[in-house]
Structure formats: C-alpha cells, structure tokens
C-alpha cells in the first residue's frame, strides 16, 4: 500500500508569510480530507506535494520516493486538479485531453483514444468533445479538469477545492467518482466544506495558520466530542455575553435566529440542549482553540 509521509515540512514565503510550519502528516491509501480556512496553507501544502513548490525544510516521501527531489517520479504517479485553472483558446476538449494524455506518457494511440473517450464520457463531455474549451461553462471546465487529473491511472490524486464551481447534483456525482477511485490510491482532497470530508474521507487533517491542528480518522474525532456539544438559540444581542461565558465554537443563523454551539463536558445550563457532535463541530472546536492560542501567543 502506498503511503505519503510528510515530516517537519516548513515554508516561508519571501513576503514573510509562514505558509507551513513544521507540518507532519501520514496519508494512507484512500480519501484524505484536508480541512482548513482560506489561507491556512492547504494550497501550499498541496502544491508542494504536487512538485510545484519548494519547501524550506522537512521531507515528503511517497512510498520510497523522495517527493522534494525526485519530482519526475512523483509526476508519473500524480493526478492534480488545482483550485482554478484556465484553458487554451481555440482548441477542442478532445484535442487538449489527447495532448495531456501524451504528456502523461500514454503514447499507445489505441489506449490513448480509449482512455480519452472513457474520461470524456465519464465527465459527460463526450458530446462536447469537438467544442472549443473556451466556450465551456464553469462546470464543464471543472469536469474537464477532473478528466485530465484522472488520466493515466494516477496513484496520487490531489484535488484542490474541486466542487467549488459545481452545482449540488454534480458535486454528488463527483464525490462518487472520487470515492470509487479513492479505494486503491491516495486521494488528497482539500476543501473548506466540512461535509465533503465527512461524506468521503476515512482520514483527515485540519490545518490552520500553516500548522496541523489535528489529524486522524474523522469518526474518531467526532467520537471524542460525543456528549460534549451543546446548542442554544440566543438573541443576537446576547452573543457577546455568551461568548465570554462559554466556549462558543460556532455561531450560525438558522431560520433567522442565532444558534450557538458550545463545548463542555457537562451541560452548561438547562437552556442548552445536547446535540450529536458533527465533524463541523470538531473543525470549529479546533479552529477556536487555535485562534485562542494564537491570540495568546500574540499577546
């Protein structure tokens, strides 16, 4: 089984932003969710794994490949879908995918034709294959991106915010496709949508501010919070008060009313009702702890 090991990975950008700070992760075969707010360092991490970026220190190994040095070997196993990407004007989907297939080393013409057709069918672009990519809608482009990432049976698939441009139904289909592929290969899915991770991933990590806040099985993490999450509907004006008194991990509007979740071993008071912890609560819990810690460090 292929395993991706990241150890002590750090990266500071020339402008001083510490994108990754001593990140260590072990990513086994299967779907791995990378959860974190925007600017957490997810994209940096993924680009570093995808050979697009250099690290200042630390190491990444994929099986016995040193990812940071043997870039060509990594690229042979890699399928990568970046967060946003454009296309050449005046070239058809089929021609472009065919071109990518050659770049992926699929040089047998028959195999290439088959795999290109299969992927176009799979992403439902087959009928549009003779169209110029520049006329594609956002969703079609995203599907095209998926198709190219899946070229050549990759062993390591990295997808960065893949469902951003998709409508709900398309998102579901995409998840199914990923899950199917993810059975035998390493799939890293970066997202800020907690549901994506809970739906799909057997392993996950939360990162923020360039640090790994937690990593492991999402079910375990949820189990840890079992019977510790409490919910209350409050008036909007009371929010500050509640935040100072309780460990409020999330605030959201439900049907126009403010709903807060808190974490506490015991029921804070009877007005709070117990709820089943979700992965979202886990995420918010870690995020809150992290921001408090950073505030403390800053102070």
């Amino acid at each position: 089984m292929l395993e991706l090991r990241i150890e002590g990975l750090s990266k500071t950008y020339p402008n001083g932003v510490k994108a990754l700070q001593d990140v260590s992760l072990t990513i086994p075969t299967g779907m791995f969710g990378l959860l974190g707010p925007n600017g957490a360092g997810k994209s940096t991490l993924m680009r570093t794994i995808a050979t697009l970026q250099e690290a200042d220190s630390g190491s990444i190994t994929l099986g016995d490949i040193d990812v940071l040095r043997e870039k060509d070997n990594v690229r042979r196993l890699l399928g990568y879908l970046p967060q946003e990407f454009g296309v050449y004007p005046r070239i058809t989907a089929e021609a472009m995918l065919n071109h990518f297939a050659v770049l992926k080393g699929i040089v047998n013409a028959k195999e290439r034709r088959e795999t290109v057709n299969a992927l176009l069918q799979r992403t439902n672009l087959y009928d549009a294959r003779k169209q110029n990519l520049s006329t594609f809608s956002g969703g079609m482009r995203q599907r095209f991106g998926i198709a190219q990432a899946l070229l050549g049976n990759p062993k390591l698939i990295i997808v960065d915010e893949p469902t951003a441009g998709l409508d709900p139904e398309e998102r579901v289909r995409f998840h199914n496709l990923l899950a199917e592929i993810g059975e035998n290969v390493v799939v890293i899915l970066s997202t800020h949508i907690v549901e994506d991770v809970s739906d799909l991933c057997s392993q996950m990590a939360i990162i923020s501010g360039g640090r790994v806040l937690m990593s492991g099985d999402p079910q375990d993490a949820v189990r840890e919070l079992k019977d510790k999450v409490w919910r209350r509907v409050i008036a909007k004006t009371e929010l500050d008060d509640f935040q100072s008194r309780y460990t409020v991990i999330s605030t959201k509007l439900v049907a126009g009313r403010t709903v807060i979740h808190t974490v506490s071993d015991a029921q804070p008071d009877p007005t709070f009702e117990p709820i089943n912890a979700s992965l979202e609560d886990v995420y918010f819990c870690y995020s809150r702890r992290d921001s408090q810690q950073r505030q403390a460090e800053a102070a």
């Binding site: 697009l52 472009m96 290439r112 088959e114 799979r122 992403t123 169209q131 079609m140 050549g152 496709l177």
Partner: protein, 1189 residues
C-alpha cells in the same frame, strides 16, 4: 449609452496586445526611416531634411495604406467579437438601441485605429532628436505639418477604411468575408491605379484615389528641396475634392450600415450555441464503469513524443490567433509592394530573378517576422501562466526540456511558415511577371538558411529573455533594446560582429559568383552565434520556471538542482566551442586582416587630406607607357602585379620629387633608379622619392613596382569585392600606384567634413582654372598612354584587359593572355576574369565579343545589335572608331554600373544582362546603355575634357546625345518621347535632391541629373531647332580639334563655341537657354476646340499660354520675356500615354504670353496644345495639351 459603449470598447481595445504590437511596429518602421537611410518609406530622402514637412506627409500617407488592415482588425472585432464569443444575445437583448450600439462600437474602433498612427507621429518627432543624426539635415520642430498630415491625410483615410469594412463586417458578420474584402480592396486599388495610369485624365485619377496618393504625388513630385523643407500640401482644388468626396462616401456607407444592420442573434453562432446548451449542461455522470487501464511510459522516445505534442498544440495556438494573422497579412502586403517594384530601371523591368526577390523579403518582410518572434516568445513562455493552466501542465510527467523545447520549436516553425509565406508571395510575384525560372535551391538557401537562421537566433534571444527575466514586459523590453541596440551600435561605430549579437555579416548574392567570398565569414559568424544561442538555451533550461516559485533565490536553487553531468558537459563543450570559434574568427578578422571601423577610415581620409592636400596639382611627371604583368588567382583571391611605368617630365621645370600615392594597407614595393625615399607614410599611402638627378623637362625615366593583394582568411565586413572567385573586376585606380595627390580620398559628406574640421568640399575647379585645365577629368598622372599587359588567371577562366590580344597560352595550369593597345588610351584600365561564355559577331570586319555568364544569355544579341547600330552612326557622323574590336563583359553585381574602357565595356550583371525586354512598348534600355557606353569610345576616349566644370558634359551629355540618335534611328521619333519624358521627370526630381547648387549644363559639376537627364533634353531640343546635321558638324569639329590632344584640355567653352558657329543668329538665344543658364517654361493650353468641316477634315483651334523663367542655383525663379520657337500641335488618340500619333506640329515664334492657332487635320484629333511632345523643361508638362471639345 453610446458613450458608455464607447468607453467600454476603448478600454477593451487598449487592453488587447494588438494595439501595442501595431503601435510598436509603426513606431519602429518610421523611426528606422527617420534615423537611418537603410530603411525607406516611399523613397530615399536625398538632401531633404529628415523631419521636413514633405517627409512627414509622405511617411504618414504611405503608412496610412496599412490602415486598411489595421483598421479592419478593429472594426471587424467590434462586430464579430460578439458573434465569436457568443455575447451577441447578451448585447442584443439588453436595452441598447441599434444606433447606440453601432455608433459606440464604430467610434471606438475608429479612435483606436487612429491612436495607432500616433506611433508614426511620435517616431518622427522622437527620431529627429537622435544624437547621431546630422544636425544640418534637421529642420526646426513645427507642429503644423504633423497636425496636417494626421488630420487631413491619415484620418480621412482611416475613416474611409473603417466605414467600408465596418459595413462589410456588420452586414456579413463573417471574419473571413471581411478579410476577403480587404484583399479585394487592395487588388481593386492596384488594378485601378495601373489602368488609370495610362488614361488621359490624371485629374480623374487624382480625384478617385481613396488613399490620396495621386493628388499628393501630382502636386509634390517636382518640389525643390526648399519647397519640401518648408511647404505643406495646399488643401485646395482636386486634393480638397478628393478628401471631401471620400469622407462623403464613408458617411453614406455608415448610413447604409446603420440602416441595414439588424440587432439579432447571428445565425451561424446561434446554431453552435444551441448544440452546446442542449447536450452538455446536464451534469450527469454516467454510472460507474471502471476506467480502462492504460500503460504509461516515460523517458527516451516518449519524451520526444511529448516534445512533438507540445509543438503541435503551441503551433496551433499561434497560427489561430488574431494578431498573428494580422501581422502576417501586413508583412505579405508589404512584401508584395517591395517585390513588385524591386526590379525597375527607367520604367523598364529586369527579370525578377530570385536574389532580387530574396532581397525584397529581407527588406520588406523580416522586420515583421522579428515582431512576431518577440511578441509570441512572450506569449508562448507565458501562455499557461496567463490562463492559469500552469499548475496542470507543470505537474505532467513530461521532462522539462520537452516542454520548453516544444514551445521554442513551435515558435520557430511558425516563423518558418511566415518565411514560406513570404517565399510563396515573391514566387507569385515572379509568376505574375511571367518569370518562371524558380530557383528553389537558392530560395532555400537565401530564405530558409540565411534569413531563417538569423531569425531563429533572434527568436532564441527573445525566448531566453522571457525565461530569464520571468516578466513578460521586461522580456519585451529586452527585445526592444536588442532591436534599437543594433542600430545604435552601428551608429556609434561598434562594428565588430563578434559582439554584434546574433548579427552575422551581410551577404550579397550574385548569379555569377554565388555567395562567393561572403559565405565563409557568414558561416563562421553564424556558427559562433548559434553556439551562443545554444548556451543561452542551456541556461534557460536551468531557469525554466516549472511550478509556482518565482523568487530568483529559489529559482537559482532549483537551477542548481537541475545541474547534472549532462548539463555540465553540454555547457562546457558549448563554451569551449564558442570561445574557440570566437578565437578563430578574431584571428581571421583582426590578425590576418586589418580591422577598422568606418569612423577610423574617415579619420584617416581626413588626415590624408590635411597632410597632403598642400601637394595638390604640384608638377609631376606623367605616365606615358605602362607595362604590367598581372597574375590573378581567383580561388585564393590573390593578385600579383609587376609593372613598369615610363614617366615623362612634360613641364618646363626639372622635377626633383616623385609623390607616389597608393591605397593604404595594400603592400607595394617600388624601384626607381637613383632615388631615395625621402618620406614614407604607409598609414596614408603617401611616399616621396627624391631623385638623385632631377628629371629634366622632356626627359623620361622608368618606375617599377610590385603590388601584392593576397586576401587571407576573412574580414569582419568584406570591403574588397573586386577580386573574387568568379567575376574579378578591378581597375588601376585602386591597385596601381599613382603620382601626385588624389582628391578621390577626400570625404564628401558635409557633416563628416565639419566633424573633422575640413573646409567645405570643392566639387570642381572653375572652368577657366589654368592649372586644372592641364589635367584631364579622368587621370591626373597621365595624358595618353600605351598599355602592354600580360594577365593570367586560373585555367578555366578568361582574363581580359583593354587592348588587343597578342598571345594566349597555358603554362603551369594557368591561362595567360597578352593585351596591347595600338592607339593611345587614357590612363584608366581594368582587369576582368571569370568563367565566361563568349558570343562573337562583327561589324564591318571589327569583331564584337560579348563575355557573359551562361545563365544570363537573355539580351546578348541585343547588345551586339546595339554595338553594330552605334558603330554605324558614330563612324558615319563623328569620326572613325579608333580601336579594332568591341567587347562587353559581365561582372558581378557588387557594383551596379556599366563603364567604358578602351574597346572594353564591363556591364554589371544587374544592368542589361537580366533586363526584361519582353514588353515591346517599354524603353529598350539595354540597347540604350550599350549605345551610351559605345559612344564613350568617342566621348572620353577620343575627346576628354579638362578637370574643370562642364567636364562631364563633354563625356556624358555627348554620350547621351549619341545614344539618343542611335535609338531614334532604331525606334523612331515617337518612342523617344517616352524616353525624354523620363529624362524630364528625372531631371526635375533630381533638382529636388540637389545637395549644393544646381549648375547650368555647361558648368555641370559631375551632377548626374544635369549631365545625363538635362543633357538629353537640351541636346534633343538643340537638334530639333538647328537640325541633326548641324549638331553633328559641331561635334565633328570638336573631335577634329581636340581628339587625343595633350594639355591644356578642351572645355565646354569649346563645345559651346562650336554650337554657336552652326546656329543661325535668330536662334542664338537657344544656346543661352539650354547650356548657359537654367531655364524653365510654364506652357499651358487654355482652350482647344474642333469643328468637323464639310470635306471630312477637322479644324482645330487652340489658345495657349507661355511663360519662361530663369532659376538660380537654389531654384529661385525669375520671369523672363518669351522669345522662342515653340511647337504647337495636335495629337490623335492612343491607348498608351506618350504614344499618341502626331497629327500636326509646327514651330511658332512666340513673343507674347498668350497666342491663338488653328490647324486643319485629316484624322480625328484628341488633344492639342503647346509643346505637346514635352521637349521643353516644364514643371507641369501635363497641362501643355488639352482635350479638344
């Protein structure tokens, strides 16, 4: 709303690269033309200020013809963009009114097209401040001509083009249709210009010319320098009507477009769109089927496949992009223009041989290819990053080299497609001219190898610049600096090609000699720079950005990571190769040869003048006999000369010092008995020998010398193209030693003379200068000599020199010829050697031989015929031919002239030998040039003028007259009219290019437009007035009195006196008008009417006006009373202009400014007027006749 659309559109257009590309192209084309003579827009500037109003008008007008394409790019985009990008429905369903939409789009497109032309305006403004320009050639900055040219010449043109093609684009909604219309427009324009050219009404042509060219040329063609520097085209008359009419037509077209345009979704685009929405917006992914298993392979051949797929995709991306198509079309258009007019002399074409076509590609196409290279280097390096696809492609498992090399190769292929397009263009031009000798091999070498390699090297530089700077715009700046740097370095005299980045020396192709001695330095320098390009590529490979890291520190680290044994080895080998090639070149250019820059040579010339001008015309002995053994080794480009002069003291004083001058740097040894070397200055080629015993008056002495011209290796820039592998042609001026200071070394350009503190050049000694009259106009160190020369060459070549062949033999594998003269010749002779084909003929027992290149047999018979007819006329009317043979010899086109030596006439291969004489209507200039050169056997080789003003009239004007008479006997008087019209045109245009002062013909100071052009006109008019026999009698007398005379030599005073002697008293003023003054006429027919008489004949009544002027040497005119015999006549109709039959022609003595005449003619008259055949010098010859009514 219109305003909003307009603003939106303007912002859009100004964001597109096309605007900047066009601006840069226009800027640099113009900048080049303003700041150098290498680039020309609409012809050479001559002596006109570089920023003269005329130049500004001409540049902007010529450049505005490109507006058809540039404007179309914008108006077509304004309409078609919506249909292309499917935004039409968006626009047409929004509450935009049709007129707002159209107005906004049209105005924006028109404004942007106009802004492009500010590139031309700023280029002239900026260009005229460049420090290397001669300040004397710059006028003060005046805004008015710029504003006039921009608003009156350019904008109406652009408005018209915009209106026409906006209409086509809006109504067809097809890009292809629009560009087809552009092509049709150009073709229609060219066809109409050609067909209108010969029709009578030039006024109509001027009115109908949509570019405004015809009225512009019509008004300005004979402007003098003064007028060109100070005047603006007056906005009146036909020119005003032309502008108003075309603006009106444009407005009507716009109105029609507004009326017929329908605001609805385009049909073609709509269909496409429906298909898309119907099928692929459903986000269904079909049920899971396992993806087929594929095998991936890497390295080796797979990398090559990846390289090729990159090439394919990238090439497609360039070829399909709009800027590429527009630039390529512009380039092709410019090449057509260049190629069509590349082969003309005297309105007669020569065959559009391949090297001429390659030249047209080089000067008209290459610049555009460089722009494409610069722009698309930026595009191709940045493409993925610009569209944010880089993260996808950079993670693909293709090796880095296959990506960048694929991109570079795609760019190179694109450029080769451009070159192929250029080649096909010129081949098409050749075919249209019915020239079907397509030398594909030469095309391949000249275009694909020579131009191609240079282009590729520049492309590598642009590509490398983009990689290394990692900033598109900084990358473009590098391209810009490169282009500017080339000309700046030249201007600052950094001339060595070892540091002239990617700029190997120029080559001149000759059909006789191929690329000859140019090839070797070209190959070595190309190799040198190709290796350098390869080094750049290896470095570029290391720094090629793959991924998202852009900081130089990290890129350096990554580059370090890419360094491995292969890279190190390659780089080391390349650097070794680069350095050794450079050393080898340096050894050739600087050690085997003497390297000097232009300003170093100028400086030396100035020093020579300063040091030795004081010896000008000091008494020296004259050469009376020359004996020389000349051994030519064409393969090695060696010449060894062993010669002996016999010198005679023809002065009345003993001569003590011999001043021997020689071309500097040519090894020379001299043996003079009993003489010591008193001064030796090899740097300036000047030495003085002191004779132990001064040479007494009348005494003779020998002087022997050895000259060794051994070309070794190759030079930085080949300066001696006379001794070559096939087609050696040199004369004794540059290769033999001479006696006395020679003014030939003196710098001629006024600005250079100022720079080195020299007094303004004196072109000619005054006609009565007694010292100068002792020298003839050709050689100062000899009067008439006898020549006995033995010349040898390689076994397969024929070597020639003036004189008669005494002996011919072969020894030591070399071919020897001994030539000897039997009548005295001037001290000016030449040697030629080549692999010649010989055609022999004879005239009354005198052999005629043509020595020519086997590929150039076209006009050999014509030349023989010309020689025969010339000998007929000259021997019958002037004097016997002094030699017993006439030879015409071809030499390579490194020089472009024909020159007459005793019984020997070398003709450049570019003149005459490839003349296209298939058009029987055109002037047969081979016949003419042959007659002219044969005439020099009399006019120069029998009678030679003194080295004073008017000297060239005695040689050239007389040769022109002689040739005119031979031509007239052959072709008839009617054909002469066209020739004389050319002569008049070129004389009047030549006045506009005068550098110093226009002289009357008899005082001409070696001014071509006077001694050739005006000379023809004046002699023909004299012949017309006093008769051929009288003119020839005067010439016979001149020959009788002055042939082969010893000093003092004849001057034009003798000739004029002979003319006056044969001219009746009432026509003596004619001599004054033609030869002693600058006289011009303004003749005009004011009315012409016809009535048919009962007897079937026609009565024609004409009223004419005549004015007469004297001009001073600056062109300022003063009216003088008319008192002349002038032709009044009636012409019939003709298809071609200049060939109208003469129905009546009478000389009338005019004394009043206006007069009335009537004629009765038998056939139907067409035009009538004064001086209808344009024999008089008239700045507006076309109004001499008027259509009869």
């Amino acid at each position: 709303m219109s305003w909003e659309i307009l603003k939106f559109e303007l912002r859009y257009h100004l964001k597109q690269p096309l605007f900047y590309i066009l601006f840069v192209i226009f800027f640099f084309m113009t900048f080049g033309a303003v700041t150098s003579d290498a680039v020309q827009i609409g012809g050479a500037l001559g002596n006109v200020n570089r920023n003269a109003p005329f130049v500004i008008m001409q540049f902007l007008l010529v450049m505005s013809t490109f507006g058809v394409l540039t404007t179309t790019a914008y108006v077509a985009s304004a309409i078609n963009r919506d249909f292309e990008y499917n935004t039409d429905s968006l626009f047409f369903s929004s509450p935009v009114k049709k007129h707002q939409y159209l107005f906004g789009r049209f105005s924006a497109a028109f404004i942007v097209s106009s802004l492009v032309y500010l590139g031309v305006v700023t280029a002239i403004m900026v260009g005229s401040f460049m420090p290397w320009l001669d300040k004397e050639r710059l006028g003060a900055f005046v805004l008015k001509p710029y504003a006039f040219s921009y608003f009156v010449l350019v904008l109406p043109n652009l408005f018209l083009f915009a209106a026409i093609f906006f209409a086509v684009a809006a109504l067809t909604r097809r890009l292809m249709a629009t560009y087809t219309a552009v092509a049709a427009f150009y073709v229609a324009y060219v066809v109409s210009r050609v067909s209108l050219r010969d029709i009578e009404s030039e006024k109509l042509g001027s009115l109908l010319d949509p570019f405004g060219f015809a009225p512009f040329t019509r008004t300005t063609r004979y402007w003098t320098v003064f007028e060109k520097n100070n005047s603006i085209l007056p906005l009146d008359g036909i020119f005003l009507w032309n502008r108003l009419m075309w603006i009106g037509i444009a407005l009507v077209l716009l109105g029609l477009t507004f009326a017929f345009f329908r605001m609805e979704v385009g049909t073609a685009a709509g269909k496409r769109k429906k298909k898309k929405t119907a099928k692929s917006e459903t986000p269904l992914l079909p049920a899971a089927q396992p993806l087929p298993h594929v095998s991936q392979n890497f390295g080796g051949m797979v990398s090559v496949r990846q390289f090729f797929t990159t090439i394919r995709v990238e090439t497609g991306a360039i070829l399909k992009s709009l800027p590429f198509i527009v630039i390529l079309l512009l380039a092709v258009l410019n090449t057509v223009g260049g190629a069509v007019f590349a082969n003309r002399i005297f309105g007669t074409e020569f065959y559009p041989v391949t090297y001429v076509m390659i030249g047209a590609i080089e000067s008209n196409f290459l610049f555009f290819a460089v722009i494409i290279a610069a722009f698309y280097a930026g595009e191709i390096v940045w493409r993925e990053r610009m569209i944010k696809l880089n993260e996808v492609t950079d993670t693909m498992p293709a090796p880095t080299w296959s990506i960048w090399a694929g991109k570079l190769a795609a760019l190179c292929i694109t450029l080769y497609i451009c070159l192929a397009a250029a080649m096909l263009t010129t081949i098409a031009v050749q075919s249209v001219k019915h020239y079907h000798h397509y030398e594909l091999g030469l095309y391949f070498r000249g275009v694909f190898l020579v131009l191609g390699i240079q282009l590729l090297m520049i492309t590598v530089l642009m590509f490398f610049g983009q990689i290394i700077t990692n900033n598109r715009y900084v990358g473009f700046l590098i391209a810009l600096f490169y282009i500017i740097g080339q000309s700046v370095m030249q201007a600052l005299h950094y001339e060595h090609r070892l540091y002239a980045l990617f700029n190997p020396p120029d080559m001149t192709y000759s059909d006789m000699n191929g690329y000859g001695h140019f090839a070797r330095p070209y190959e070595w320098f190309s190799l040198y720079w190709t290796i350098f390009a390869a080094i750049l590529l290896v470095v570029g490979h290391l720094f090629w950005v793959r991924g998202t890291e852009t900081a130089m520190k990290i890129r350096t680290r990554v580059a370090g990571g890419r360094v491995g044994m292969p890279v190190i080895t390659t780089l080391a080998l390349l650097i070794i190769a680069f350095v050794s090639t450079g050393c080898y070149i340096f050894y050739n250019t600087n050690i085997l040869n003497h390297y000097s820059t232009e300003d170093q040579r100028d400086k030396r010339a100035a020093e020579t003048e300063k040091l030795y001008k004081k010896h000008d015309r000091i008494p020296q002995p004259r050469i009376t006999d020359v004996q020389a053994n000349v051994d030519i080794d064409p393969a090695r480009r060696w010449v060894d000369i062993h010669g002996t002069y016999t010198l005679m003291n023809k002065t009345a004083q003993p001569i003590r010092d011999l001043h021997v001058v020689m071309t500097p740097d040519v090894p020379l040894s001299i043996q003079i008995p009993r003489a010591s070397l008193a001064q030796n200055d090899p740097e300036h080629g000047y030495r003085i020998y002191r004779l132990a015993q001064p040479l007494a008056p009348g005494a003779t002495m020998p002087m022997s010398f050895t000259v060794t011209i051994h070309h070794q290796g190759f030079e930085n820039a080949s300066r001696d193209n006379t001794v070559v592998e096939n087609g050696t042609f040199f004369n004794n001026f540059t290769t033999f030693p001479h006696l006395g200071y020679s003014p030939n070394v003196e710098l001629q350009e006024a600005h250079k003379r100022r720079k080195y503190g020299l007094a303004p050049v004196v072109r000619m000694a005054k006609i009565d200068d007694p010292k100068a009259r002792m020298d003839n106009g050709i050689t100062r160190d000899a009067d008439w000599i006898n020549l006995d020369t033995t010349v040898s060459t390689s076994a397969d070549q024929i070597a020639l020199a003036p004189g008669y062949l005494q002996k011919e033999w072969t020894a030591n594998g070399r071919h020897y010829f001994q030539y000897k003269t039997t009548s005295p010749i001037l001290g000016f002779f030449a040697y030629l050697s080549a692999r010649y084909q010989v055609k022999r003929s004879a005239w009354k027992g005198i052999p005629i031989e043509i020595y020519y290149d086997p590929a150039h047999a076209y006009n050999v018979d014509r030349m023989i015929y010309g020689v025969q007819k010339s000998l007929d006329y000259f021997t019958a009317n002037f004097s016997p031919y002094q030699h017993k043979q006439v030879r015409i010899l071809e030499f390579p086109r490194y020089a472009q002239f024909a020159q007459s030596f005793p019984n020997t006439i070398p003709f450049s291969e570019s003149i005459g030998f490839i003349a296209d004489l298939r058009d029987k209507e055109a002037i047969d200039y081979v016949f003419y040039v042959t007659a002219h050169e044969v005439a020099h056997q009399w006019w120069a080789h029998q009678v030679i003028g003194a080295d004073v003003q008017g000297g060239s009239m005695l040689a050239e004007t007389m040769a022109q007259y002689s040739a005119l008479m031979v031509m007239e006997k052959e072709y008839g008087r009617d054909k002469m009219r066209r020739f004389l019209k050319y002569e008049l045109d070129r004389y009047l245009a030549g006045r506009g290019g005068e550098l110093v002062a226009e002289m009357p013909l008899m005082l001409v100071e070696n001014q071509g437009y006077i001694h050739y052009r005006k000379g023809s006109l004046a002699m023909y008019e004299l012949r017309d007035e006093i008769g051929e026999e009288n003119v020839n009698a005067a010439l016979r007398k001149l020959i009788h009195d002055h042939a082969f005379e010893q000093p003092p030599y004849a001057t034009t005073r003798d000739l004029i006196a002979d003319f006056r002697a044969v001219t009746p008293p009432e026509k003596q003023s004619l001599i004054t008008d033609l030869f002693e003054t600058i006289t011009l006429y303004d003749n005009k027919a004011t009315s012409a009417s016809v009535t048919k008489r009962p007897d079937g004949k026609f009565l024609v009544t004409i009223t004419v006006e005549s004015k007469k002027f004297r001009a001073d040497d600056r062109g300022k005119e003063t009216a003088v009373p008319v008192n002349d015999w002038v032709d009044i006549g009636v012409l019939g109709a003709s298809k071609t202009k200049g060939n109208e039959p003469v129905l009546a022609l009478e000389k009338h003595h005019l004394t009043s400014p206006s007069a009335k005449f009537s004629f009765v003619v038998a056939t139907k008259p067409d035009r009538a007027g004064i001086d209808p055949l344009n024999k008089l010098v008239d700045r507006n010859p076309d109004d001499n006749t008027k259509k009869v009514e």
